[in-house]
């Protein structure tokens, strides 16, 4: 009798335990499901992010016009779909969908082919130049090289470098106010042929009209009333009589192209112009020489909303400040690109004193050029300029939105906006 009762008790408890056991197993299964969801969702996200990086690599390393995308590409245990859409010239949108198991995630990235004019400073090589204490670099800064820092230089804009940041010693603490990141090497190169075509299409081309491939020198003096006075010299012969015309009549699309020649410029610009000097194989050409102050009719720092003047100086050789010991302090409002050199101050050591060169815009070049001689002040314990010109540089923030007409663009696309979609709240039971 008692044995039967015991048997019933054992069977009863075994049955109850079986029910609890099932609940425990179910709970465990749901717990695993829960983490499986997070893992799968994260994996899908990482696949989507990887797709963006793979596409950017295709575009920036192999083919800037790559729009093939990926379709159900197996990747990391899942699949990847990616499409590339051209929004406007130089701006693309990449939509990457990562799939893992039953889950998918989408990342949408907007990338832009920046204009070189969006940089305050852009150099191919640093050589043995160090950004040092007291240096303040305004605007975006890029180097296709190490960024070498001695002491505490200040970089006010985003800094990008193809190699990294090199500190002189443990006491060097550069200040990157907008941070820094690695970016693909993109040399300072522009397409002279394309710019010449655009200049022929709606701008102005100065060239040797005798077709003897002689060097053409052009003087351009801009007036604050929107006109420009110009004269031309071919093969070193006397300049032609000066002609004054509205800038918009001389180059309706804003592009002035000097083929195998040099430009001398100064004055006050009321308008939007990019001046290009090509060297076409000759070392004596491809230079833009800034004889004296070249400024906008409205100060872009004081009145950025009112100023609609833009000046781009694009030299296949270099932008130069010719030697003039009587010039004194002067101002440059422009973004300057020197494909083979930098911003060169000719014979800077021969100036009788040190002067200031106030630049509002950008300096883009192959290398950093020296512009002054320095001496050591033992009282202030710092170097000070003795002969030549020192920079007082401000980036023209208007160039973030608009740049001088036809100013060269970079080859690579940079990510400018990264969207990972709206919040998704998973449902569990």
């Amino acid at each position: 009798m008692g044995g039967k009762v015991s048997l019933f008790l054992v069977m009863g408890f075994a049955g109850i335990f079986a029910l609890f056991s099932k609940n425990i197993m179910d709970t465990s299964t749901r717990t695993v499901d829960n983490y499986a969801f997070y893992f799968s969702k994260s994996q899908a996200h990482h696949i989507a992010v990887s797709g963006i990086h793979m596409a950017m690599m295709e575009i920036n390393i192999n083919d800037p016009k790559w729009t093939t995308g990926f379709s159900s590409k197996p990747f990391s245990g899942g699949y990847l779909d990616l499409s590339v859409a051209n929004l406007v010239s130089g701006i693309i949108r990449l939509t990457s969908v990562g799939k893992y198991g039953n889950y998918s995630d989408t990342v949408v990235v907007t990338a832009k082919q920046r204009s070189f004019a969006e940089y305050g400073n852009y150099y191919n090589v640093f050589n043995n130049v160090w950004a040092a204490t007291g240096d303040t670099f305004d605007g975006k800064f890029h180097a296709n090289d190490w960024i070498q820092c001695y002491g505490d230089p200040v970089f006010k804009g985003v800094v990008t470098t193809s190699k990294g940041v090199k500190l002189y010693d443990k006491n060097s603490h550069p200040k990157f106010e907008d941070g820094w990141k690695l970016q693909t090497n993109d040399p300072v190169i522009f397409d002279t042929a394309a710019m010449r075509i655009d200049a022929y299409a709606g701008g102005k081309v100065f060239r040797d009209t005798t077709n003897n491939n002689k060097i053409t020198d052009v003087k351009l003096i801009f007036n604050s009333d929107g006109t420009v006075k110009y004269s031309v010299s071919i093969d070193g012969k006397p300049y032609t009589p000066e002609v004054t015309v509205p800038v918009s009549d001389l180059a309706p699309n804003g592009l002035i192209y000097i083929e195998r020649g040099n430009a001398h410029i100064k004055g006050t610009l009321d308008g939007q112009v990019t001046i290009v000097a090509s060297k076409k194989g000759t070392t004596g050409a491809g230079r833009i020489l800034i004889d004296n102050t070249i400024q906008y009719s409205v100060d872009p720092l004081e009145h950025p909303d009112l100023c609609d003047d833009y000046l781009g100086l694009v030299a296949e050789q270099q932008v130069e400040i010719p030697f003039d010991p009587t010039r004194g302090d002067f101002t440059i409002h422009a973004s300057m690109l020197s494909q083979s050199g930098g911003l060169k101050v000719t014979s800077y050591g021969s100036y009788p004193a040190a002067y200031k060169m106030k630049i509002v815009g950008g300096i883009i070049g192959h290398k950093v050029e020296a512009t002054a001689n320095y001496a050591w002040d033992p009282i202030k314990k710092q170097y000070y300029p003795t002969n030549g010109y020192s920079y007082i540089h401000k980036y023209d923030k208007r160039f973030d939105i608009q740049v001088p007409p036809y100013f060269p663009k970079m080859r690579i696309f940079s990510t400018i906006a990264w969207y990972e979609g709206e919040v998704y709240i998973p449902a569990f039971y």
Partner: protein
């Protein structure tokens, strides 16, 4: 015969009692285990939901559908337990403001767990949304480009390149006061959109 029956009954009672004690003990263990498994599961669900929401929200830090509006700073205010930042959550080209903050422990004083608090997520001026009501730790750190920790409070004048997020949730109720817990930590959230365009 009568003596043998008594022995049988006593023996069966003792054996049955031992079996019964074991079964009762096992039953208690089963109930405790199921309780803990159940609480664990709930906590893990909470963590996953919270992590999913925060992953996405912080990925949007500084993002705007109209990229010309984006800048290098987007954190309006940030300290170790709260953050208010700009993010275009609906991708309509207009910045929204997201605000994450926690209550004090008094808000959940009716629960046995003395440490739990409420984590709120507030979008613009909408009523705060309870993201989690069992937060026991919510910690934010702000790092610069060299991963140096920035001094709090953070505002729009301070550059932040990374945000480090960690939180822990605990059960508000517990079997035998053994509160189950789950921890989530994201070492760095790269601020993809915190660079000047």
């Amino acid at each position: 015969m009568g003596f043998t029956t008594i022995i049988d009954i006593l023996g069966a009672t003792i054996i049955g009692g031992i079996v019964l004690m074991n079964l009762l003990n096992m039953n208690q263990n089963v109930v405790q285990s199921e309780s803990m498994f159940g609480h664990d599961k709930s906590l893990q669900v909470d963590v996953v939901i919270l992590a999913t929401i925060m992953d996405r929200d912080f990925g949007l830090l500084g993002y705007c559908g109209d990229y010309t509006k984006m800048d290098s700073t987007a954190i309006i205010y940030g300290d170790s337990v709260s953050i208010r930042f700009l993010a275009d959550t609906d991708n309509n080209g207009i910045f929204d403001t997201l605000y994450y903050f926690t209550s004090d422990t008094a808000a959940l004083s009716h629960t046995p767990n003395p440490r739990d608090r409420i984590l709120y997520r507030q979008l613009n001026s909408n009523p705060p949304f309870v993201v989690a009501n069992n937060i026991t730790e919510f910690n934010l750190k702000y790092l610069d480009t060299f991963s140096n920790e920035q001094v709090i409070p953070i505002d729009l004048n301070k550059i932040v390149n990374y945000v480090r997020i960690a939180f822990k949730v605990e059960d508000p109720y517990a079997y035998n006061e053994e509160y189950t817990e789950a921890l989530w930590r994201r070492l760095t959230v790269t601020a993809n959109n915190l660079t000047k365009k």
